[in-house]
Symmetry: C2
Subunit: 410 residues, 2 copies
């Protein structure tokens, strides 16, 4: 299916600078698509530190199992990602395919298989013919170059309508370091073709433990704060790599005060990539930012924010440009978290829709309707009970979502 670029796509793609010690490449291995790349490798000249966050699905894909086994050692020489086939729910054949891919990659890099990281995204339940990587993978590694970020980002796309790229710089001890990231995803999952994958790479010398802490600190407010359709992939993977090539004394712990600026840039890049994924939500025509405040705790605020972001009725109202605050009340009510109907306040942008449990005095339907025509809408909900807060991002539910997911396989 040829999709037109999402109306919410960034106007220009970020151009990523090289990260010392990292080379990338892509090829067309013929896994599923004709006439496009579907195999990507990111090679590290020296062992890089690696950290990761993997899907919580109880039915994870074979590459997720593979990464989970290799992450504790915290070392990586190569990342290999294919699109077109998720190698999920493929039984023993799935584990054999990851082992075979890792062997090829390890041979090409002359490293142990424990230094190989893998992801696959695409159709579920079809055996992955990893033999097809033979030749192509070695070729990619041979030809890999430091400036192929966009090519790499394109090779991991499935139903994505644009490649997702972001870059930041920060200083550690006065030395500038680079953080690059690429991602893919357009439904939280559409097992035929989508899933959320993100890879972040820096030349800063940061230990795997510190990287893992940074990822853990920010994943809940970035990659885990977005939702397209409430569905969780069997394959979701976020990996962070640090080559350490920058000339800085190594950072062993995330508590190291020298890391402050880096941590901010790292979190900012994570948010940037996460938002690009929502912006490419299947069929999305509007982005919604949901700011919940006044909940009993941050965790409670998160549950409420995601209940709103995932409500089909809120999402269809957004698609229709309807400031339907009754549906927000409904979603708050169904979240199961402490809430007092008569203290709720709801706003769209700066326009009050409801206060103290009823329609706001001076509610202006015309102003509201005008606001709802925007591409990006902020929904503010104050629960009125405490200091808990959370911001989530979602998108609308349109007929195109139904078309993309209802007509795809057949």
């Amino acid at each position: 299916m040829q999709m037109k670029t999402s109306p919410l796509a960034p106007e220009t793609l970020a151009v990523l600078p090289p990260v010392v010690g990292v080379r990338l490449g892509a090829a067309a291995a013929g896994i599923k698509y004709a006439g496009r790349t579907d195999l990507m490798a990111m090679a590290f000249d020296e062992q890089a530190a690696v950290a990761g966050v993997l899907t919580r699905s109880h039915c994870p894909s074979a590459p997720v199992d593979w990464c989970r086994a290799n992450l504790p050692a915290g070392r990586a020489r190569i990342l290999v990602v294919n699109s077109g086939n998720a190698n999920a729910f493929t039984g023993k054949k799935g584990a054999e395919a990851t082992a075979l891919t890792a062997q090829m990659a390890a041979l090409a890099m002359n490293c142990p298989v424990s230094d190989v990281f893998l992801s696959s995204t695409g159709v579920i339940g079809e055996p992955l013919e990893a033999e097809k990587f033979d030749g192509a993978l070695q070729q990619i590694v041979r030809d890999a170059a430091p400036d192929r970020w966009e090519e790499a980002a394109r090779a991991i796309m499935t139903t994505d309508t644009f490649p997702k790229l972001a870059t930041r710089t920060a200083e550690i001890d006065g030395v500038p370091v680079t953080i690059n990231g690429i991602a893919k995803g357009s439904g939280m999952i559409a097992p035929d073709m989508a899933t959320m994958l993100a890879y972040i790479v820096t030349d800063a010398p940061i230990s795997a433990a510190a990287l893992q802490t940074l990822l853990g600190q920010h994943v809940d407010t970035t990659f885990n704060a977005i939702t397209v359709d409430s569905d969780t992939s069997t394959s979701d993977t976020v990996l962070a790599f640090a080559t350490g090539a920058a000339g800085v004394t190594p950072v062993a712990s995330a508590d190291d005060t020298r890391l402050a600026a880096f941590a901010t840039a790292f979190a900012d890049l994570m948010e940037d990539l996460a938002l690009q994924i929502v912006r490419d939500g299947e069929g999305a025509s509007k982005l919604m930012r949901i700011e919940v405040t006044g909940a009993q705790s941050d965790v409670s605020a998160r549950t409420i924010a995601l209940a709103i972001a995932n409500s089909p009725l809120v999402k269809t109202a957004l698609a229709g440009g309807d400031a339907n605050w009754g549906r927000i009340v409904m979603a708050v009510g169904k979240a199961g978290e402490p809430a007092d109907r008569d203290r709720l306040a709801i706003r769209f942008g700066d326009l009050a829709a409801a206060t103290d449990g009823e329609r706001a005095a001076g509610y202006d339907e015309a102003a509201m309707s005008a606001y709802m025509q925007r591409d990006e809408v902020t929904i503010g909900v104050d629960i009125g009970l405490g200091d808990g807060r959370f911001t989530a991002w979602g998108c609308d539910l349109t007929k195109d979502y139904v078309t993309i997911n209802g007509d795809y396989r057949s």
Copy 2:
């Protein structure tokens, strides 16, 4: 919006016999709709026993608060239901409107307000002008008759495309008793216009406590086993009334063995009404029955079954007639319940799609596609871990759902 009748509607409406001691009526009170009835009353000649199950929403409507306060006494003389306005999120005005409606009803019936039960369904957040019931409500009570079940069922409709009616008979001590029920609902909620309401009435002499037990025993496998869009109404209400007019020695406890046949018929009627609601799911073109077996517990099976029924990706695949078992795996995985990928078995009807964690041997795409063209599809999922089982019902997600809920208010 004029909607055409759901393609999943029953071919004929059930014709309900009178229940001794019960009279019904309806009128057009002009709450929201022009040219249709929107106020219904069910009057009991003598105090009836009453039991109920109310929404778990933390933001319930004013009539839900009212019923919750009156249910413990277990006595009812009249039920009053209006459509067009949910009287939800209406602050103090909402409580005033329920009090005013109850006063009118109590006066008309010459009973205490504690014997009055109320429901409202329709738009959220608009004050309910209960003054409009004055005159109309008294008229309904005066003219109420035992044979107006369909009229009553029509008066409580919102986005429903057909009235929901069911009847059963059973014997207690060899004496036949009748159980009638009416319901409305077409989204689990669409706060503009929908909500699930069901009222069950029998002439059997059953105590409020026994009725409450029966409701509690069966609500989880009937009204709480259906889902249209995963959204929970602020107003969901199921009430059961027993007039006791049948000539049988009263039944005080649900454990009374004389109640066995009645309990079966009662549960069967609850399932019948619940399925009629799914059959009228907004935009639904296909009904899905999800049978989960082999889970670690029944509760676990229920969570998994509802995760499948609520998954937008499963629902859009169903709309597209796609036997997309990869999405079923995804939904099992995201449910968060114990599951072992490599023991999962998935079938559509009697056709095996996956066994032991991979595509079933002899998987036949053509047979599968033919099966998926049906109006009613059974999805069987065996988790392979234990004896827990649960059956849930849902419907597909179509472009019509988006149209109904995206275009409605505007």
